[in-house]
């Protein structure tokens, strides 16, 4: 199977309407003639025998690392940390990459006679995973042998007994880490890389850290200076994580990194139209689109949501590399770029995107307005290399219903953030100075983060900071088809139709604007020249 690279289409009179995600549904929109649509590359080839590839990677690690087998000794403390529920999107079909890799690691550990093995879900300040989610990621065999005896744990960034303070980097950043990981002879980190921001030193330095540590790179200044945070060479977020990762290594925390990538195949065959370019739609695709969009539009919101949330993606392992963190991540990034990068010539006045039902923080949950902002202005906006798809002072048009809806268990602090903070200010710097500390140290949020399934109290702030670069760059944001009150609360302008939104945008960018449409998901990363 050969995969076609990404593609930029210039809309002309014969171009069929463009598919846009709209939360738990889609819209077909006719873009103005002359607009450009950026399509993602088609899925790259996957590994024919992933298990063999994993074994191969463990035996022949990258960088200056010896093979994993050589690092495993009887009587040692081995900690296996793994990415949490936020990856991949949507959740992949079983077996998950993490299950394959961890089973291989555990086999090696068993052969080497390592008894003291603990698994840690690297939550950082994310919500804990449920039993079902852990079983899905790790498989029943691992769950049943580790969970009952307490050897399958989830990182608790608010348990002082579970953290160890290791000192400061030369840039003065506090480094505080999970105690088990910091005191292990070896930490094996198992990741799934979906976008270039993931992986590398960020895995351990963020995934197993505490608020005290995270605040040094999860802040407005860092995010505004990460252009983009998807481009590790121009990302202050990465620089900070890399400093911390190197500091950890210097402190003797030994990390064996195993990174995997996926191909860009997020939707099942029944909805193949989602991954096809509109002018290539077959009769079956048209029927599929009609059936799916009508059914989702008719279904009650909750049903549509749970139907989509139940999707397990067919994407599969495209590469696996193991060994020393930086060498591994360099290779991983190459794989990522091969799958995601699309060359785009120049910036546009207006950037449009259709936002789907899912972002990293609402798996099995609802995408609340703050997450809408984060997905549009954080994730999608930053999926560029070089310069943003839209010029400075340009307009971003999002399509999403943006319901005034929150998951009370997963996002309790988001509710209060939306009611109390956003009603007062949408300025990231102001909220960081005035409110972040209160939310981050609120005992009720900490209690819910530790004992329930809630994101940490400070998390909504981070989501807002994620969009800080875009807020700084853009002249305006318009949301098509969103809940008007919720959209206004976000500080954006609501519009009923794309045509209205374009009219409104002209008030900001002037007449006859140029327009680029970001056609995702499946994901892509624009390489803007």
């Amino acid at each position: 199977m050969t995969s076609r690279p990404g593609f930029v289409l210039e809309v002309d009179r014969s171009t069929p309407p463009t598919l846009m995600w709209h939360g738990e549904g889609f819209r077909l929109e006719r873009l103005p003639v002359g607009s450009r649509v950026v399509y993602p590359p088609e899925p790259v080839e996957t590994l024919a025998d992933p298990d063999a590839a994993i074994a191969e990677a463990l035996e022949h690690p990258l960088g200056d690392s010896p093979p994993l087998r050589a690092l495993l000794k009887p009587g040692m403390r081995l900690t296996i940390a793994f990415d949490d529920i936020s990856l991949p999107l949507p959740p992949m079909r079983r077996p998950d990459n993490r299950q394959r890799v961890i089973e291989a690691v555990l086999d090696l550990a068993a052969e080497a006679g390592v008894d003291d093995v603990v698994l840690i879900a690297a939550l950082a300040l994310h919500r804990r995973m449920t039993e079902a989610e852990l079983r899905h990621a790790l498989g029943d065999r691992i769950y049943d042998s580790f969970a009952p005896c307490g050897r399958l744990t989830q990182h608790d960034a608010e348990d002082p007994g579970n953290l160890v303070y290791l000192g400061q980097t030369d840039a003065g950043e506090d480094v505080e880490l999970n105690r088990r990981a910091a005191t292990s002879d070896l930490v094996v980190y198992v990741n799934i890389n979906l976008v270039p921001m993931d992986g590398g030193h960020k895995s351990v330095a963020t995934g197993l850290a505490s608020y005290r540590s995270l605040r040094h790179h999860h802040n407005v200044r860092t995010m505004v200076h990460s252009r983009s945070f998807m481009d590790q060479h121009r990302s202050e977020l990465h620089s900070s994580n890399w400093r911390m990762g190197r500091y950890l290594a210097a402190q003797g925390v030994k990390v064996f990194q195993i990174e995997t990538t996926l191909n860009n195949d997020p939707f099942p065959a029944s909805s193949a139209f989602l991954q096809r370019r509109e002018w290539e739609w077959t009769l079956k695709d048209r029927a599929g689109f009609l059936a799916a969009s009508k059914a989702l539009a008719r279904a009650p919101e909750r049903l549509a949501r749970s139907l989509l949330q139940s999707i397990n993606a067919p994407h599969a392992m495209a590469s696996v590399q193991a060994g020393e963190v930086e060498a591994v991540h360099a290779a991983t990034t190459e794989h990522m770029y091969r799958q995601l990068l699309v060359e785009v010539e120049g910036q546009a006045d207006i950037l449009t995107m259709g936002l789907p039902y899912l972002c990293p923080y609402n798996v099995n949950s609802v995408m609340n307005p703050v997450l809408v902002m984060c997905l549009g202005l954080g994730y999608f906006f930053n999926l560029y290399r070089g310069q943003p798809l839209v010029r400075r002072g340009g307009v971003l048009i999002l399509s999403h219903p943006t319901p005034w809806a929150f998951h009370p268990v997963h996002h309790p602090s988001y509710i209060d953030f939306f009611e109390q903070v956003l009603s007062e200010t949408t300025d990231p710097l102001e909220m960081e100075a005035k409110h972040e500390e209160t939310f981050a140290t609120d005992p009720w949020y900490i209690h819910l983060y530790r004992t329930s399934y809630a994101y940490h109290g400070v998390h909504p702030f981070y989501m807002w900071y994620w969009g800080a670069h875009a807020l700084d760059h853009l002249g305006g944001v318009i949301v098509v088809g969103g809940d008007r009150r919720a959209v206004r609360r976000l500080g954006f302008k609501p519009a009923s139709t794309l045509a209205d939104a374009l009219e409104m945008a002209e008030d900001i960018v002037g007449p006859d604007p140029s327009l680029t449409h970001f056609h995702a998901p499946p994901l892509l990363m624009a390489d803007v020249r």
Partner: protein, 795 residues
């Protein structure tokens, strides 16, 4: 000279706290130099006679003019000239003490204006006050005259204020003559009527205490309050009983009056009162003054002065509010209205002239014969005035006044009865619906509409006959009195009904005064400043509050003890076991529901038996999972934010719930204290018995009072949040009750009492689980198995 004749004399006044009495006292003090006024005032429960005199007479705005006129000497003048007799016209000898008798003995004239003017007074009250009152006054005066110092003069002149409507519902001319001398005299024996009225009271009272009646009152109380606990229910039931007796007496009064040809118990008892007075007056010279419908003053002490809100006023306001769309009446009939200051002047003229030497005499003070106001004319005046000066509804929109078609009384009351019955039925249905919050408030609205309808019906029943009256009250004797006055008296004590210019009076004097008194909106637009809700919220969240108490179920969380039980019981079971548990619960649902409605405490005790044999450790551990997947998933974010807000303000927060301790443990960080239920344990298993019984109903109020006492907090500065009428005792106990997502009974009560209400909903975005079953734990920690839930519903 009226002023001259009365100057330096002492005038006794009964009923001085009433509309006519107050005006009379003021006029005497202001217009008759150096006379003394002795008022007979009943000592109240909270204030004695002197205090009542000050609060209810002197502080009335009737005295504003005099206060201004006298300036600094007002208090000393009043203190010198106004004498207070503590007494009661419904007691023999007027209940006077020696000092009171002395004061009364010194009176030259006594104006008896005390009456229960409400047309729907219970029969026995009307009889005691209206029928026997004048006789008692006369008897007291006669006794004093007989036993008094023989060197002083004889008995004082008694002017008894009656009503022109003693003429009853007859047509044609009604002369100013004693009833016995009129063509429409009835032979009703007042003594027999008094005895009968007293018997009706004791019969009704006895009937109200029969077991079947008492059961009905209890049922009514329960229907209204639900499971609010014994003390509140019994209090409500006792009120229902006394209300029932009262209604019976009102009905008896109306029926008896109508049977004898009077429109209502007021006219009937007044008429018989005149007869009784003539029988009992002894040596006391008597004059009877019969005013018609007394309304706001034409000029004295100022145009439009009115006190109380009795007959035409509520009808007019109901009409202007659009509530009363029809009022029966004959368009060409005469509505006999007379301004209060004319009545006062007439009484003073009679007092100045002294008793008729030929025996008791009668004066009408009425407008119908000399200056008639037709009903349709009044209606047009009212309509045109409100068209120009509409009232405004809650949203600041002008209210459109209804078209009036002068239907007959039967039709109107049939319509109203039908509407009221329909509303009552709808209210009953909605009350029993399982709805909350916004939707439950429909019940409160229905209740409001129904009581509006009932009030309208009441007006029609009570006052309908006054708009249909065809009697013309002659004023020949009154006019003769008028003719005899000199120009100065005519100027200062005007009582010629002809001076009333009806359009000017209705538009310029009466309606502005009625509207000003009615506390209605007379300006358009939204009210400025914070809304009612906002004000309520601010009061609740004031920093000076000390304690905030929260109920759990349906106040903070949309869940209940049955659901949490089902969740826990099914969590470790296979499919068969899950179905069995769910099936047993469903089968028991009706009886559980009924028990919960009867008594929450019994229900909890009985239901918690099902935990018998449950493994303690496992449930404690499962409770954390349950907190996330049931309690928090169904929580009301606004409610939780409110708890946190109270804490942030430094208030103590307490959760008071019937739920079990280990189930609410995950919520502990929100509260300073949790008052809940706890199960007994034995050998690692629950026994199904409670070691700590959760306070329910009135026990919650006591628990709160205890808590406040222990922690030195003030109940008055406490806030309580609850959703159901079973929490009524707790809500009543605190200074700031809040009805959250109120069920219909509580919604109605909250509306009536003006309590702050909140509607807290579940988060949009929470997944909705229809069947409360635990997500199956595929492996319990340590591989534990499920437990068999204990026996159903207690033993």
């Amino acid at each position: 000279m009226i002023a001259g004749a009365l100057a330096g004399r002492r005038v006794g006044v009964t009923g001085a706290t009433g509309f006519l009495g107050t005006a009379l006292v003021e006029r005497l003090l202001r217009c008759v130099p150096d006379c003394e006024v002795a008022v007979l005032v009943r000592p109240g429960r909270r204030y004695d006679a002197a205090q009542r005199t000050r609060r209810e007479i002197i502080h009335n705005n009737c005295f504003d003019r005099l206060r201004e006129q006298w300036g600094e000497r007002f208090d000393s003048e009043v203190g010198r000239r106004l004498l207070v007799m503590a007494g009661d016209v419904s007691a023999d000898g007027l209940g006077l003490d020696e000092a009171g008798r002395q004061v009364l003995a010194g009176c030259d004239v006594v104006v008896h204006s005390a009456a229960t003017v409400s047309f729907d007074a219970p029969l026995d009250t009307a009889v005691e006050v209206n029928l026997l009152g004048p006789s008692r006054v006369a008897k007291a005066m006669a006794d004093l005259a007989a036993g008094g110092d023989p060197t002083t003069r004889g008995a004082a002149h008694l002017i008894a204020v009656s009503t022109a409507y003693v003429a009853g519902t007859r047509r044609g001319d009604a002369p100013e003559a004693l009833l016995a001398e009129t063509p429409y005299a009835t032979d009703a024996d007042w003594r027999a009527e008094v005895a009968a009225a007293r018997r009706v009271r004791s019969d009704l009272d006895a009937e109200s205490r029969t077991p079947s009646r008492l059961a009905r009152f209890t049922r009514e109380a329960r229907r209204e309050l639900g499971a609010a606990g014994v003390p509140l229910l019994s209090e409500r039931a006792e009120k229902a009983r006394s209300d029932w007796v009262r209604e019976g007496l009102v009905e008896a009064g109306r029926a008896r009056a109508q049977a004898l040809g009077w429109p209502d118990a007021y006219a009937y008892t007044k008429a018989l009162g005149e007869r009784a007075l003539l029988d009992n007056r002894g040596t006391v010279p008597v004059t009877i003054v019969r005013p018609s419908i007394i309304e706001s003053s034409l000029a004295e002490p100022r145009p439009g002065w009115i006190r109380g809100f009795r007959m035409a006023e509520p009808v007019i306001i109901s009409y202007a509010k659009g509530l009363l769309t029809q009022f029966p009446g004959l368009p060409e009939g005469i509505l006999d209205v007379i301004p209060v200051d004319l009545v006062v002047a007439a009484i003073l003229a009679v007092a100045a002239r002294g008793p008729d030497p030929s025996g008791p005499s009668v004066y009408h003070v009425a407008s119908g014969a000399r200056n008639p106001l037709r009903y349709d004319q009044l209606q047009q005046l009212v309509e045109s005035w409100f068209k120009e000066h509409p009232l405004y509804d809650g949203r600041g929109q002008p209210i459109v006044i209804p078209e009036w078609s002068f239907p007959d009384r039967g039709k109107v009351s049939r319509q109203l009865t039908r509407a009221t019955k329909g509303l009552a039925w709808a209210e009953r249905v909605s009350r029993s619906l399982p709805v909350r919050g916004q939707r439950a408030r429909i019940t409160a609205t229905l209740e409001e509409r129904r009581s509006e309808g009932e009030r309208a019906l009441g007006y029609v029943r009570l006052y309908g006959s006054y708009a249909e009256t065809e009697a013309r009250f002659r004023v020949d004797r009154l006019m003769a009195l008028w003719e005899a006055l000199g120009p100065e008296d005519r100027d200062r004590f005007c009582f010629d009904p002809a001076v009333v210019d009806w359009p000017g009076y209705v538009h310029g004097v009466h309606l502005p005064s009625v509207v000003a008194h009615a506390r209605v909106r007379t300006s358009p637009g939204r009210r400025s400043g914070p809304s009612r809700e906002e004000r309520g919220r601010r009061a609740v969240l004031s920093p000076s509050r000390e304690l905030a108490v929260f109920d759990l179920e349906n106040t903070l969380v949309a869940s209940n003890v049955v659901e949490t039980f089902a969740w826990l019981a099914t969590r470790h079971l296979g499919t068969g076991g899950r179905v069995a548990v769910a099936g047993r619960l469903l089968a028991a649902a009706p009886s559980l529901l009924a028990m919960d409605r009867r008594d929450r405490g019994d229900f909890l005790r009985s239901f918690y038996r099902r935990y018998e044999g449950a493994p303690v450790d496992q449930l404690r551990q499962d409770a954390w999972e349950l907190a996330s997947s049931l309690l928090l998933a169904r929580s009301f974010p606004a409610g939780i934010a409110r708890v946190r807000r109270h804490r942030a303000l430094g208030h103590r927060t307490v959760l008071i719930t019937g739920a079990l301790d280990f189930l609410v443990a995950p919520l502990a960080p929100l509260f300073d204290d949790i008052i809940c239920a706890r199960l007994a344990e034995q050998g690692g298993h629950f026994t199904g018995e409670l070691v700590q019984v959760p306070p329910t109903g009135e026990a919650r109020a006591l628990a709160m009072a205890d808590y406040c006492a222990r922690h030195g907090l003030s109940l008055a500065e406490s806030v309580a949040y609850a959703d159901s009428s079973s929490d009524l005792p707790m809500l009543e106990a605190v200074g700031h009750p809040v009805a959250v997502n109120a069920e219909p009974k509580l919604a109605t009560i909250a509306r009536k009492r003006g309590w702050h209400t909140e509607d807290w909903g579940r988060a949009e975005g929470a997944s909705r689980v229809l069947v409360p079953m635990g997500p199956r734990a595929r492996s319990g920690p340590g591989g534990r198995r499920g437990w068999r839930p204990g026996p159903e519903g207690g033993r």
